[in-house]
Structure formats: structure tokens, C-alpha cells
């Protein structure tokens, strides 16, 4: 038989003024099962809490109802007190007679009646409550960072700095990401390679960081603290341990391929390192272009390798790793330019993307920094930069702003003027967004010192007229049509989510928006967390960002990882779903509706090991206690502890007079 104690709080006059707390306590005392019912001025005060503790001990209470303010205020306080007195904290419930009653009603009689009802409902619930235990989850003290760009590198470094081993996963042959392709960075104009390369070296040399390049996540199982990731290591055909990166192979390789790293403006070999500072500085064979693979001939690299590191028979490998936490920093891609017929990209060689322009001006680029336009190697005298190519264009492309284009375009006009002092740089823009530290000042320098000419308006078409490109557009400030003859046109194309990120998100069980950007658990208050516990997000994987933001987020995510992995066990509330296996049919309804993939099928076998049937099985580590599963179960074989059918039914029934 339940022994319930009820504690009605005055909250000074906050409650007592509108609710007759004495009458409430007396009335409630008559409910069968209530053995102690009392009112007190401030239940949350130390003496008030002591009353609860003493009553629990003295009356051997099996459940407690504190009728006072919203549980948001003091549920933790009172549950802790209950726990200290030896009562399971989940056997304490609060009836909200302040926010939901005394503060919103004037009539004392009505408010008192309502308070009594609210308390009675809670009494009936707590009678049915079951003691719950917080869920303790052991933690694998190891992290996985997906994406080896500057964001991933920073996250890995910060996690390692906390003493936690990290695996840094990169699908390309080298870490470095897009930042390694940039020339100089805004607003400081420091050389991108110069600031990134030391970080790349640092991460490579950190004993706690394991870099896995040319590798992708194949599968993820498990849950917070206990993930099991299967990594696919693509066949590199080069023994990374033995190889010294001497370069003999790629020097001798006869097959030339356009370089992805150089954005199609340069050449690499079929066996190659993507760029000189690559880490690891070990080559990889591009199976799609290597003659050994396409025509089964050549084989020069294997013959000349001084250390016999080349193996054409390498197969992709699958490696299982266990990690406690994951940071997703998969970065971005530029929008495919084939979408912009009006700008003639692909048709006119001198229409290039902003990333191509970076390579064209970069000292380590294909022309070693000598700016030449692709068609005739001429130094461009007039360059037109077009912003918002694909961004802020909800009718045709992406509705969002790609955030960094304004600034890098300003930077590129400066880089251009540094190369061509008398050159003309025109920028077509919609609005200028320069909201970062020193950004506006930087932009002004581009306009004022470097004479970049900003034209507010859209470009309608770019066409070839003889050797020149003609850019036609509108200047909406002067309300006139402009026609500019240019040598080079640079498109600031939209940042989009990279290919394969949706599939990755599905493997991870995290959300993504219609553009393929990953969804934060809360856009403001939990910006580096995914909705799946233990998986964190950083950088452009979430939406367009610049380098400082990406790096800060990397550190933010790393702090989250470290916070999580600093404990030996994770503890979470005991409000999780539970399956009654005897009546579960394994129909998968709950599995389908669970927003957190916390439910999976479990095989029930007989002693001989034969499969008898399948039932749902809740992973308490993943379950967040939303309870969406429960009403979906036709046989009510899954219930949410803490909010069970029986408990809620009791609350409803507490109002009822049936017969």
C-alpha cells in the first residue's frame, strides 16, 4: 500500500494568497494512501526540505508530492532532498499550484478547488510511479573527427590537448581541405598555407592523433560513449609506412591528369600527392586514370620505387574502431558551375570560379603566382567579380547567403591589384556583408586603396566578343545598364554541402536540412551538437562559415567532446522507454517513429539458439524519453518510464466519477 506524503507550499503569499493551502492539505489528507499532508510557508527553504526528508523517514513514505511552483524551478531540489532521505528521486512529483494556479486565477474558491485537483492528480500518479535509476553509460575515451580540413584539424588538436586519443578521418589523400587551396586569407592577408601547414604538421606529429586519409566512414553502430565505427580505407596502392615520399614515382609516371587540387587548372600524375605540403606526403594511385588499371600496362612506378612500396593488388580495407564521441566537420563544396549558363562557365575558358582564381594567384599554384588568364595566358587587365552566384537566389538556386563571398571577393580584388597594379577590378554585388572583426575596414581598403569598383546589381549575361568577355548587367544605384569588357570573370559560386554528406548523415543518424547542411540540436543554444547524443558538429558542415567561425566551432565541439569524455560513465535521466517483451510483436512501429534510432530489433532465441521471434529493444543510452513510441505501439508493449500509461491514466482518473 502506498504511503504518500503531500507538502503544500505557501510560497510566502504567492500561493497562499489565492489558494487556501490549509484546506488543500486537509482535503488531500483524506485521499486513501495519503498518510501525511502538511502546508508550509517555504517548502524550498532548508527547513522546508528537512520537513520532506524527516517525513520520508518517519512515515516510511513511498511517494511524495510537493505542491508548489513549476517543476522547472525546484523539481531537482526536491528530488535531491528525497534522494538524501533514501527515497528514489523519481518517486517525488510536483503539483504546479503557483504558475498554473495561484498566479493565473483570482477567485480563491476556484483556485483552491483547482489546486486540490492538481495535487490529487499528482498523488494518484505518484502512487503508480516506479522507482527509476539514472542510466549510467560506460564511455570509450576516444574520439573520431570526420573531415580533415582546418575545422577537423583544430577539433582533433583540441581534443588531443585534453589527453583524449583522436582519429582524424579524411576521404581525400591528404588532410588540409579547402583552406590549403587558398592563397591569402581575409582580413589579414596572411598566407593560407603559411598558417595551415604548421597545424597540419602539428596534428600529424601529435601522438594522440591518428590520421586516416583516403578513408571514409562505412557504418556506425552504437550510441553515445560507445560508438563502433567501420572505416573504409580505400586502396592507396602505396605502402605508407615504407614510402619516404621521395617523389620518384610521380616524377616518372607518364599519365597526366588534370589536378583536382588545382581546380582543373594544373596537371598531376596518375600516382600523385595532391599538393607539395600534403600530409601524409605519401602518394596514392588514381585507379581511374592509371594505365596499370585501365589498360594493364606501364607499371613504371612499381619498377622504379626504391623501396618497393607500390602494390597494384591493394584492396580496400575495413577497419572497426570504437569511439566515445564524434565530431562531424565535413566542410563544403562549391556549387557546380554548370548551373549558370548565363555566365558561360565551361563555354568561355576565362570565366572561372573563385577557388580557381585562388589557385591562379597562389604562389604555389600552377603558374607559381603569375596571374595569367586561362585562354591565352595574357595578364588580365580588367577582371569582373560576380557575387551571389547561386546564393540568395531562391527562384533558381539557393536561398541562403554563402556568408564568405563578400569578404573573399574583396580579398581577391586586392590580390589582383597586388599582381596587376593598373588593373581594373569590378565587383557586382547585391549587398555587402562584412560583419566580422576588421572585416568592414578590410573591405574599405579593397574599395579605397585598391580601387575595386563595386557595382550594385546582377549580371544578366557574359558573352565572348572576340578575345574579350563582355559582362552585361544592371547598376541599380544609377538605374542604368552596364556593359563591361573584361579579360577575366570570377564567379563567387555558392557554398553547398559536399557530395555524400546526406549518406553520411544517415549513417550517423543525424539530421540535415533540405540543402544537405547538418542540423544542430538547437540553433542558438546547442549550436555544435547534433540531435544525436555524442555526435557534435563544426564548421561549414552546418552552414557556410568563414575560417575563424569554423575554427571556434571546432574548439567548441572539442570542448563538448572533452566534457563528455572526462567522466568514466555518463549519467542520464531514467526517463526512458522500456519494452514488455512478452507481448511485443516486433512490428517495428516504435523503431520507425523513434527520432533517435534508440530502438532496434532483438532476436529471442530458444535454448538451442533457434530464432523464435523478434522484439523491440530500447537502448537506454540513446533514448531521450520523448515517448513517441508508446502511443504507436498497438499492444502497448513499449512504455515510457516516468510517464507510463498507468501513471497518466491515473491522473485522468483522478478527475473521474464514473458510476
Amino acid at each position: 500500500m502506498a504511503k504518500i506524503g503531500v507538502f503544500v507550499c505557501w510560497c510566502g503569499s504567492n500561493i497562499a494568497e489565492t489558494v487556501d493551502v490549509k484546506r488543500a492539505a486537509e482535503t488531500i489528507a483524506k485521499i486513501p494512501g495519503v498518510v501525511y499532508s502538511v502546508d508550509y510557508k517555504y517548502m524550498c527553504s532548508d527547513p522546508g526540505q528537512d520537513m520532506v526528508k524527516n517525513a520520508i523517514k518517519e512515515y516510511n513514505l513511498t511517494g511524495v508530492v510537493v505542491a508548489s511552483c513549476s517543476p522547472r524551478m525546484h523539481e531537482k531540489t526536491f528530488r535531491k532532498a528525497a534522494s538524501e532521505a533514501g527515497l528514489n528521486p523519481y518517486m517525488l512529483e510536483m503539483a504546479n499550484i503557483r504558475e498554473h494556479c495561484s498566479w493565473v486565477h483570482d477567485n480563491k474558491e476556484e483556485a483552491t478547488q483547482k489546486a486540490i485537483d492538481l495535487i490529487r492528480m499528482m498523488v494518484e500518479k505518484v502512487k503508480r510511479n516506479k522507482p527509476l535509476q539514472n542510466i549510467k553509460i560506460p564511455v570509450t575515451k576516444k574520439a573520431l573527427v570526420i573531415g580533415g580540413g582546418v575545422t577537423g584539424i583544430q577539433a582533433a588538436l583540441d581534443i588531443a590537448a585534453g589527453g583524449i586519443p583522436v582519429i582524424l578521418l579524411e576521404r581525400e589523400p591528404s588532410i588540409g581541405g579547402h583552406m590549403s587551396m587558398l592563397d591569402e586569407t581575409f582580413p589579414t592577408l596572411d598566407c593560407s598555407q603559411c598558417i595551415l601547414t604548421p597545424k597540419m604538421v602539428e596534428v600529424a606529429q601529435n601522438p594522440l592523433v591518428t590520421i586516416m586519409t583516403y578513408s571514409e566512414l562505412e557504418k556506425l553502430e552504437g550510441f553515445i560513449g560507445n560508438f563502433k565505427a567501420t572505416i573504409k580505407k580505400k586502396a592507396r596502392h602505396v605502402n605508407v609506412e615504407e614510402c619516404t615520399g621521395c617523389g620518384t614515382c610521380w616524377t616518372k609516371c607518364p599519365t597526366k591528369v588534370t589536378s583536382e587540387f588545382e581546380q582543373g587548372l594544373g596537371i598531376r600524375k596518375a600516382i600523385y600527392i595532391p599538393f607539395p605540403q600534403a600530409i601524409p606526403s605519401r602518394p596514392v594511385i588514381d585507379e581511374a586514370n592509371c594505365m596499370k588499371f585501365t589498360q594493364n600496362r606501364c607499371g613504371i612506378c612499381a619498377k622504379i620505387c626504391p623501396k618497393q612500396c607500390i602494390s597494384y593488388d591493394d584492396k580496400e580495407e575495413f577497419i572497426e574502431i570504437e569511439v566515445g564521441s564524434i565530431v562531424v566537420a565535413t566542410g563544403y563544396d562549391l556549387m557546380p558551375t554548370s548551373a549558370f549558363g548565363e555566365y558561360g562557365y565551361g563555354k568561355y575558358p576565362d570565366v572561372v570560379t573563385s577557388l580557381q582564381f585562388e589557385r591562379m594567384v597562389c604562389a604555389s599554384g600552377p603558374t607559381l603566382g603569375d596571374l595569367q588568364r586561362p585562354s591565352d595566358k595574357k595578364k588580365p587587365k580588367t577582371v569582373v567579380f560576380i557575387q551571389c552566384v547561386g546564393s540568395r537566389d531562391p527562384e533558381h538556386h539557393k536561398a541562403y547567403c554563402s556568408k564568405i563571398c563578400c569578404m573573399y571577393t574583396a580579398k581577391q580584388t586586392m590580390l589582383y591589384r597586388h599582381k596587376v597594379h593598373d588593373g581594373n577590378a569590378y565587383v557586382f554585388y547585391i549587398d555587402i556583408r562584412s560583419n566580422g572583426k576588421n572585416y568592414e575596414e578590410f573591405l574599405r581598403r579593397a574599395q579605397e586603396e585598391n580601387k575595386a569598383q563595386y557595382i550594385r546589381g546582377r549580371v544578366s549575361m557574359v558573352y565572348q566578343d572576340g578575345p574579350d568577355l563582355v559582362v552585361e548587367g544592371a547598376d541599380t544605384l544609377t538605374n542604368s545598364q552596364v556593359r563591361i569588357r573584361a579579360d577575366l570573370v570570377v564567379l563567387a559560386t555558392a557554398m553547398v554541402s559536399p557530395i555524400g554528406v546526406k549518406e553520411l548523415a544517415q549513417k550517423l543518424g543525424i539530421g540535415y536540412d533540405q540543402h544537405g547542411f547538418l542540423t544542430e540540436a538547437h540553433p542558438k543554444l546547442r549550436p555544435v551538437e547534433s540531435a544525436t547524443a555524442g555526435i557534435f558538429l563544426a564548421g561549414c558542415a552546418i552552414s557556410p562559415r568563414d575560417i575563424p567561425d569554423s575554427v571556434s566551432e571546432a574548439s567548441g565541439a572539442a570542448a563538448k567532446v572533452l566534457g563528455m569524455l572526462s567522466k568514466d560513465e555518463l549519467e542520464k535521466e531514467g526517463v526512458v522507454a522500456i519494452v514488455r517483451e512478452c507481448s511485443c510483436t516486433g512490428c517495428q512501429n516504435c523503431i520507425r517513429v523513434c527520432p533517435f534510432t534508440a530502438i532496434a530489433l532483438k532476436d529471442i532465441r530458444d535454448k538451442a539458439g533457434n530464432l523464435i521471434r523478434q522484439v523491440a529493444n530500447v537502448n537506454p543510452g540513446l533514448c531521450t524519453g520523448c515517448g513517441t513510441c508508446t502511443p504507436t505501439c498497438p499492444s502497448r508493449s513499449i512504455d515510457l518510464q516516468g510517464f507510463t500509461d498507468e501513471e497518466i491514466f491515473a491522473e485522468i482518473n483522478a478527475m473521474a466519477e464514473l458510476h
Partner: protein, 287 residues
Amino acid sequence: MKEIIEKAKELLSQGTVDLVIGYEQCGDKQCRPLFVQKPEEADKLVFNEFCVHNLATYLTRPEVKQTKRVAIVAKGCDIRAIVNLIIENQSTREHVYIIGMNCPGVVSGKAPNPTKPHTKCQTCKVRTPQMSDVTLGPTPPESIPMDKTITHPDVEELKKKTREEKWAFWREQLSKCIRCYACRQACPMCYCNRCIVDLNTPQWIDTRSNLRGNLDWNIVRAYHLSGRCIDCGECERVCPANIPLMLLNRTLQEEVKEKFDFESGYDLEACPPLTVFEKDDHENFIR
């Protein structure tokens, strides 16, 4: 008829399956389910317009699940139930050998004098069964003319009623329910081994056959079948109280079709519509 018998014999004697579930004649205008485990027992198998039962309901029983493989004589509409059972993890495509029957339509109404064509057959899309392992019987005619003499009040008629008329109608109908659960037991989609009505902590549904219990029971059954009912009409046929149960089920399936563009039992990859959602699901009542 001969081809079913031959097929059953072949499947059993070759060991492809160890049970064939089909129909046998048990009166002039009456058939009933038949379980055949040995080739020599197969001679009783028949198929005709009196084979109304949806045999898929037997697929979820333990003893049938434990067979190595089971063959089932199934009309196109019955296969819809099998599809749902597979989707809902109650069976597998590999375990069931579907002897699909070309079906010109079956009768409705109670034995021993079921003469009217079944309503469901008039709108049937699967007279030639889908997904069967073997299809038997002559190709059914393209269309069967609508019979205007269907007696049970159809969905449109119900919808035309005022709210008060509807309430009065269902009060009257549901007061007849004796809670024998024949509807549930005959239904291929009601496979729970512990029905919600059999739970008592809490007792959501009164087990008494009073109006409250009857209303709750029938609401819950219809709700659980929404987006899953495959319109076989077995519940209505077996109801000893003659409650027009399909009226409710059909109304809900129409709603599912209209609101979620979904018809159950045609696609093995589909999810039951109440287990998924679209972010722009349309409603006009939430404020």
C-alpha cells in the same frame, strides 16, 4: 481447381513447403479454410466465389511460422495483407509461397445464402494477383459491372449524416457488440499476441460489452487499422452482431488516401502511414 490441387501436391511432395493453406467446400454456397500437410489431402482444395476468407490471417500463428515454408492460396486482395505482414515484420517473402488466384470477385453476406457480390470486388485493382509465386485460374474479366443492390450503408451515406445522426447510428450499431472479438481474430492485421483490450494496467478499454467498452473497443480497432486495413471485409463478415465494421474502416482508409496519398498493401517498401510523417502534412484544425 485441378491446377490448385496439382500445385499443392507438387509443392508438398517436392518438399518446397510443408503446409498449404487453401479452401475446401463445406456446403452448397460455402467454403472454409483447409490446412493441407500431405499431398494426398490436397484433393479437397477448391477455389470459387465462395472463398471469401482471408487466409493470410493464419500466417502469424506460431505453428504456421514454425513451418519451413508455407504455401497460401491467396486472392489479390489477400496478398495485400501478406504485403503488410511482411512490412510489419510478421512474415517474410521467402517464407510464404503465394499461390495467387485470378479472381473474378467473391460473394458477400452471411452463409448459407451469400448471393451478393462483395463491395470490395467492385473496386478491386488486383483481380490478377501481384507478387504471387504462381498465378492460377483463368484471367478475370476486365470489369465487373457495379451492382446497385449493395445493402450496407456505404461511406458516402454515412458522410452525409449530421453529427447527431452519426452518433445515434453508431450508438445503435455498437450497442449490439458482444465483444466476442471475432473481428480481431479474423483480421489478418490484428496479429498482436496481447491486444490492448486485454491489458488492465491501465484498463484503457472497458471489457464489459456496454456502450463505453464497445465504443472504445471499436474506436481503437479502427484507429489501429488506419492506414493498415486492406479492405478484406473479414471483420464484418464474421461479426455475429452484424455491425457494419467496414464502414468505419473504409472511411478511414479513404482519409489516409486523401491526406497521405497512401494505400496499404501494395508496396513492400512502404511504411505504415502512422509511423512516418511529412513535414507539410496538411491539417486545418490545429491552432
